[in-house]
């Protein structure tokens, strides 16, 4: 067997360590099992603990219509169906969406340190939220308040501005995007600080939003946010080929048949949409979008066709786990948990990227 045909069986990343790495289907199953465990744990766990058996029974009875005699209190059922289930599902969707968006940004910008907020979405959302708090109007559309709507629009507007401004640079489009994103993000952060200063009483609301969380989850909000995030994520998944093409840079991608300008715009738009929707629903929760794609790449390599769906599964599980931990630790913000776990990982990642940037 010639060395070349070894590639017919080996599809892993460098020195495909785990046997699993050769079988993406196996990994997908692992991911789904992990997600299922996270789901049950997230639904059953909290300040009011519901045993896994009861959790599964309640879900089976209410969702699958199985005929199970209740051995639990009615309040447990309320907690599961009305409070925990929408919360956990929201966390899943947000975690998965942020992971996919993060992977897309990392691939587009060819920067392993990129995350979904790299082009100003975070600052834009925060600024939008702060503006909304300053406006003394309480409006509710589809269970979303003014704050969420403005955060969503702020995030999208920020990316749009960054994209437009970056087009006039002399450096490569991606470097230009990154730098413009940083500049616009800083400007918006300054605006946010100003708005917070002026907000007085509304400061607490802005803080709570910035720290992020799933406390305000509901079926109604999930019904609005989930389609947006899921559709955007699926759109990105379908464009995995373009992301792969970008691995060697924009010019090489063009040589390989990628319509770089169009794909860049579409991928940016989809990733920003998913991020903006996630941020509108649950505030600024960091590190999941950065960490999940990297962990997956360590196992399966940079092929976006594998990275994107697996990162979505991992991101969803991570977010559910982080929310559960946040609740069990006395209601601290989810963003703190993800930072505590994510920051050391991020630092470890920095140490590993010593090679890869130089020629």
């Amino acid at each position: 067997m010639s060395p070349g045909s070894a590639v017919l069986t080996a599809r892993a990343g460098p020195a495909g360590r785990l046997g699993l790495a050769r079988r993406p289907v196996g990994l997908a199953i692992v991911g789904l099992v992990l997600l299922a465990v996270a789901l049950v744990a997230g639904i059953g766990g909290g300040t009011v603990a519901i045993p896994p058996g009861d959790t599964l029974a309640i879900l089976g009875r209410r969702i699958l219509g199985l005929d199970i005699a209740p051995t639990w209190a009615a309040s447990a059922e309320t907690i599961v169906m009305q409070l925990r289930l929408p919360r956990v599902l929201t966390a899943m969707v947000v975690g998965g969406g942020l992971a996919v968006a993060g992977a897309a940004f990392q691939g587009l910008l060819r920067n392993p340190l990129a995350d979904p907020y790299v082009l100003g979405t975070a600052s834009g959302a925060g600024f939008g939220a702060a503006i909304a708090v300053l406006i003394p109007v309480r409006a509710l559309v589809l269970e979303f308040g003014l704050l969420h709507g403005f955060a969503f629009l702020g995030a999208l507007a920020a990316v749009f501005v960054v994209y437009k401004l970056s087009r006039v640079g002399a450096s490569s489009p991606m470097t230009s995007l990154l730098l413009t994103g940083y500049a616009v993000g800083s400007l918006l952060a300054a605006g946010l600080a100003m708005a917070m200063y002026l907000s007085g009483a509304g400061l607490r609301q802005i803080f709570a939003y910035l720290l992020g969380g799933f406390d305000a989850s509901s079926w109604g909000r999930l019904a609005v946010a989930a389609p947006l995030i899921v559709l955007a994520s699926v759109g990105i998944l379908l464009r995995a080929r373009s992301l792969n093409g970008m691995l060697l840079g924009e010019e090489a991608a063009a040589h390989l048949g990628v319509d770089v300008r169009r794909e860049r715009a579409i991928l940016l738009a989809l990733a920003s949409l998913a991020t903006a929707a996630a941020v509108a629903v649950s505030g600024l929760i960091g590190f999941v979008g950065l960490v999940a794609p990297h962990v997956v790449r360590l196992v399966v390599g940079p092929n976006a066709r594998l990275v994107l769906p697996l990162a979505a599964l991992l991101g969803a599980s991570l977010m559910v786990g982080a929310d559960l931990a946040a609740r069990l630790l006395g209601g601290i913000p989810v963003g703190v948990i993800t930072a505590v776990i994510g920051a050391p990982f991020f630092l470890a990642l920095l140490r590993r990227t010593r090679s890869g940037y130089e020629l």
Binding site: S2, S5, A10, P14, G249, A254, L256, Y357
Partner: protein
């Protein structure tokens, strides 16, 4: 196969290429040489369809280039890029597999035929001993060979090389050039290479195109193109031809 007529490319109001006429037939092996700033890279990008000329036409396989989408171009013409940076750990197989991008299924990815093509390319270029390694950790010469394998995997009738021997040691320079020659003579691939080393070009390519300040000043066999006067005029050096050994 490749045909340029009256191609003019403007760059900041200056003509980077001026009224270029060039015809390369299928199966030819051509090197483009010239001093820095002569327009070699610009010519390559025009041929690859990345740059649209301000005037003139470019044809690939008898079809106008501006009528083809990127995928169609990629199936007809493969480019071995200059060594790019890789943001993530990427195995040699993954890099070579990128060459199948224009052929693989858009959503499902590589088919068995694609994987076979990747295997064949790896064998053809002889980088099988590098399998499983992270491409970022290879030597420059090894990386260039891997990129060549990627372009071979692309299975295009035309292969364009962008300064493939820059940064390479002598052994790898020769290895790459011999491989390119082999691809041309054995597989019939049309080769267009941009080279800065005129000695290498003269040795390995039967036809040279000499560019100077955006114009083709000579086009033909090395002996005809590389006359002392021309070298003196274009490169600004006094050449001395030395024959080493037999």
């Amino acid at each position: 196969m490749i045909r340029l007529e009256g191609v003019t490319v403007l760059y900041r109001e200056r003509a980077a290429l001026h009224d270029i006429g060039l015809q390369i037939d299928a199966g030819e092996r051509v090197a483009v040489i010239g001093p820095n700033g002569a327009g070699k890279s610009t010519l390559l990008r025009v041929v690859a369809g990345l740059l649209r000329p301000a005037a003139g036409s470019v044809e690939l396989g008898g079809v106008r280039l501006d009528g083809l989408d990127r995928l169609a171009v990629a199936r007809r013409l493969a480019v071995v890029p200059q060594l790019p940076t890789l943001p993530f750990a990427t195995s040699v197989e993954e890099v070579v597999a990128l060459g199948r991008l224009p052929h693989e299924h858009p959503v499902r990815g590589m088919r068995p035929s694609d994987r076979a093509a990747v295997a064949a390319a790896i064998d053809r270029v002889g980088v099988g001993h590098l399998l499983g390694r992270d491409a970022r950790e290879l030597s420059l010469g090894e990386r260039q060979l891997v990129l060549l394998a990627m372009a071979v995997a692309q299975d295009a009738p035309v292969l364009v090389l962008d300064e493939p021997t820059v940064h390479l040691d002598l052994r790898h320079q020769v290895e790459v050039m011999e491989l390119v020659g082999d691809l041309n003579t054995r597989d019939g691939t049309t080769i267009l290479a941009v080279l800065h080393d005129i000695g290498l070009a003269a040795h390995f390519f039967p036809r040279l195109v000499l560019l100077d300040r955006g114009r083709i000043v000579a086009d033909g066999p090395p002996a005809d193109v590389l006359t002392p006067e021309r070298i003196r005029e274009v490169f600004g050096v006094d050449p001395e031809f030395v024959r080493l050994g037999a």
